[in-house]
Symmetry: C2
Subunit: 212 residues, 2 copies
């Protein structure tokens, strides 16, 4: 297909596709004339993945690049490939942790040990959880990580179900797409659903007159 | 307290505090000399709220401003105040919806009706959920919104518990802080915990040799 058709099928504007081509995120098409090229289904598939990573995942360009390079690096085993992808998906918390955050990280380590989850020291979500706890402290809540227990329980239920649906025989791009959809797209859905549920329950509690 | 002490207590650097003062997000302190002022506990409290909104909630400055103005606007009733806050918390999806997204929104409406949640037409999370569904379609998944059912179930459980902890007699700043913590801080924790749980379950399934 031509670049305009690639744009139509992916929903990505032509100038953005050209930008991805220049940046090497998308491999060049097959030239048909001095200024024209045709693109294959692999291009469309990659473009859709890039769009999901940026629009739903909110990934920075360098993290999109890390995901794509991991797919293309055939020397990476399946588990390492998915590890790289998960790391690129973030969240990315930069800067030195505050003293509060360091204290919260120790508490998060203790909590994860109690829950019995085996996660790498470098998992970015460890620090994200510690930051959430440190924020609670800063907002005057006298809490330890046990306050997250109901959240850990449902997160565990969802994750067990999600991991069970991963096909061990999927191709590399399929496996990465599966990981991205499972992590990023369903995360966006979960966050949206929780906000909708909060509105519903809040209205029920504080505006009972409106029915419901 | 002086601005340096306010900075120490809030963890917000002095230049950032000066920026908030210039922007009117933080009311001026009480002047003690031509270039000095002292700040009260209300300043510290507001500064902590601003930090949570920007760092954990990822809010844009104009949305932080909307939250603070809603707190200060005594003409707003409690329910309207919290509605404004929730709206400012986003997510903010700009631009015209794509035809795919429009189709997904109709499906999301149908789904919410089935689940029985009463949420306003303008709730930003409606569109966020529709976008997640449209993304699934784009990634080649042949799904309707029923795919979100397990997520809606746990979101409903969590929200019911969260709303039950809201005190109806809290002051305006307390009520807003409660809404922000409940929505934004626990959302960050939930997202982090789901990612940690995914890593744990993925390792159990795909690296069983490492024990588990």
């Amino acid at each position: 297909m031509r670049i305009s058709e690639l744009s139509g099928a992916s929903g990505v504007p032509v100038p953005t596709i050209k930008f991805y081509l220049r940046e090497g995120l998308l491999p060049a098409g097959t030239p048909t004339a001095r200024t024209q090229a045709v693109y294959a289904d692999g291009h469309l598939r990659r473009l859709r993945l890039i769009r999901t990573l940026t629009e739903i995942g909110g990934l920075r360009l360098r993290d999109v690049r890390a995901v794509l390079q991991a797919i293309d690096d055939q020397a990476l085993g399946r588990h390492e490939l998915l590890g790289r992808v998960h790391h690129a998906l973030g969240p990315h918390l930069d800067g030195e942790p505050s003293p509060e955050e360091v204290r919260a990280m120790a508490e998060v380590d203790r909590f994860l040990g109690e829950v019995g989850w085996r996660v790498s020291r470098q998992a970015p979500a460890r620090r994200a959880l510690a930051r959430a706890l440190a924020t609670l402290w800063r907002m005057g809540r006298d809490a330890d990580a046990a306050v997250f227990e109901p959240y850990a329980r449902v997160a565990g239920e969802l994750a067990a179900r999600e991991v069970a649906t991963v096909s061990p025989t999927a191709s590399r791009p399929e496996a990465v797409e599966g990981a991205v959809v499972g992590t990023v797209v369903f995360e966006a859905a979960l966050v949206a659903l929780r906000r909708l549920a909060q509105e519903h329950h809040s209205a029920r509690r504080f505006e009972p007159g409106r029915g419901g």
